[in-house]
Symmetry: C2
């Protein structure tokens, strides 16, 4: 894979935010023997380096009643060396869709001889393990099951990846029409990790285009939701640094990956707030404006990569309601951050009114935020789950 | 890449036609150290083997006034080791679209340091070289330029690949929305060549789905045109063998690749007839019904692979007229084959009437067929072109 070198980086406290790097070539061929002419402008990530990262990476696919054909395509795109972890919140009563997912995954793993874990979000052993870790924020109020929501599924996946001893965790949505795009996202994750200088690294995908289907196909560069969330998050930074910036271009990036060291210290907001909240939390903890959360980590620095994929992003259409919730929840994390000044708050309120998400004078509700794993007794979780790990594994030894 | 093994093969004279093999996994990871458990059902094509083929492969992209963004995406998906050959028939007068394509290709090759050739279909040197080879069927009646048409572009690309000393030539359309799909096609080509036992090999791609956009997205498995052409071509075989068959599933496969040895002996029909005609010609020459064209080749055998890609095929919509021409021209090659019996002829005539392409009693016109390269004085062509090769190369030494 060839990607543009980091051409521009902004620093916010201990955080390096790299400007968007475009993928130039999906497949960059054999290992180069001599230094590359183009190296001043382009990074060639050798396949051996990519595979080295993939071997340490779990790819988490949260899913809920997704079309099986899509699910099947998505898993077939995940590079072989990665551990697939499916966290499903699909229906089990009328039709047991979870069993169908399990079957599909098992058949795939049988013929490709690869490992995968699959767990249901409402699994009772899982609930017990989380209770042992006192990770009660993830549970429903009665404590009997994990809360609904993709964000909670992501955290479960993350914990399972930790349990499997992985060093990186990447997230991929189950509703992608193109296996080849999934493949590219994972390659981008690996490329970011392999060029990062810090053990605290995040890679976020920017879609090159997102086809809008309305009679004919139109390739949108920016969705309105992303545009607005990026703008408000950039405003939050600008207000602190005194320099206007547009560095954040991936505030809502569902497709993203985190080094385990970083993933452990991040909080995870519920719902669509999760992706912007990761950035907001980093800005709060390591932006240097509020007291630094951890000096040791601050010294090593945090790197955020934003990679523009070559493939367009073509996924299931979720409709307008979905977009409104996404906007509201995403902006609520910015709004409620202690870093958020009046200018940004006014901007957010105005956007929410203009885009008919809130009425005039209404404020976005505070998002529910799940504690970072390292604030919980994760050892209890892993000890408890380790005994049952085999039952979540699709290919029995 | 992991693909299903050839589970079923039909033989027609010296031709082996393998039934569809599905791609199971886009990226099958590191080289296996021990024999694979799944090897009885699945072929794992190691990346080293794939790259070994790609180094000997030219990927020909015929294009005509295609959107530059699509063209740019397509070239970025072609694996690095392949030589890209663009044969353009784009406008040069009002707007010089050819220069824009040249620029795009050059910028891409500059940053990825790879080789590519680009030639205009109406290039005057090219015309002279073809005249030297007495390849006049490719030229307009006045002999002043190459005929319009994608098929003629393919032949030019093939000749350029021969000139560049390549052993395999793959064709990829310039209007594909997904670079990741292009990448997969080339991997499929390489997988086919690397598992073939014959130097005379063809790999044809079957799209898993083709999204139809009409308000919402619907994934069609079979287009009506393909269905009909496959049916009629299968009928042609069945009538000769006495056993009904549905082995041909890629009669119209635009995405296909041919070993150079085979490409040299194939005729190329004009227009949409080109892809079915390749099969018809093989059946005529090596099916064992008519006199065998070349005993030596017949002894070595010919292998036809049909690979089902994981990625859907999502490309520019060409409208109904396009589909009708495709059907008419494709079926005309079957209709006019000396192998085609009355039953198949009646089937074709009926389909063309039902699908409103021809009136009752009308017959499809004979397609224009360009001679196989080996029937022409190709040495004259290559000698003449070799002197000018540098001017078609985008990265000057």
């Amino acid at each position: 894979m060839r990607i543009e070198k980091q051409r521009y980086t902004e620093r916010f406290g201990s955080i390096k935010i790299h400007d968007v790097q475009k993928v130039l070539e999906l497949d960059s061929g054999r290992k180069a023997n001599s230094p590359l002419k183009e190296a001043i402008a382009v990074d060639k990530i050798e396949e051996d380096a990519i595979k080295g990262i993939e071997e340490k990476m779990a790819v988490v696919i949260p899913t809920k009643n997704e079309k099986l054909k899509l699910f099947e395509g998505v898993i077939s795109g995940v590079p072989h060396e990665c551990l697939i972890i499916v966290v499903s919140n699909s229906e089990r009563k009328q039709t047991d869709r979870f069993v169908m997912e399990e079957d599909t995954l098992e058949q795939f793993c049988h013929y490709t001889q690869r490992k995968a874990l699959i767990i249901h979000q409402k699994d009772t052993v899982l609930t017990q393990a989380l209770a042992q870790a006192e990770y009660t924020g993830l549970l429903e109020d009665n404590g009997k099951a994990v809360r609904d929501g993709k964000s909670e599924g992501m955290v479960i996946g993350l914990l399972m990846a930790m349990l499997a001893g992985k060093e990186y965790v990447g997230f991929v949505d189950a509703d992608n029409y193109f296996p080849g795009a999934v493949w590219e996202y994972v390659k981008c994750y690996a490329a970011g990790f392999s060029t990062s200088l810090s053990p605290y690294t995040m890679v976020r995908i920017l879609w090159r285009y997102k086809p809008k289907v309305s009679g004919e196909v139109y390739f949108r560069k920016w969705g309105r939701v992303s545009e607005t969330t990026n703008k408000c998050l950039n405003s939050l930074i600008s207000a602190k640094t005194g320099f206007e910036t547009d560095i954040i271009k991936t505030a809502n990036a569902g497709e993203h990956a985190i080094s385990m060291k970083l993933a452990k210290i991040l909080p995870y907001a519920s719902g669509y707030a999760v992706e912007p909240q990761e950035l907001v939390a980093l800005f709060e903890d390591f932006g240097g404006v509020l007291p630094v959360a951890n000096q040791q980590i601050a010294r090593q620095g945090i790197e955020i990569f934003q990679m523009e994929s070559r493939n367009p992003h073509f996924h299931e259409d979720r409709g307008t309601m979905h977009l409104r919730s996404m906007l509201l929840q995403g902006l609520s994390t910015v709004y409620h951050s202690p870093l958020c000044g009046d200018v940004t708050k006014r901007m957010i309120a105005k956007e929410l009114v203009t885009q008919r998400v809130l009425g005039r004078g209404e404020k976005p509700a505070k998002p529910h935020i799940n504690y970072p794993p390292n604030k919980k007794n994760i050892e209890n979780f892993t000890n408890f789950m380790a005994e049952h790990l085999d039952s979540y594994s699709v290919l029995k030894e």
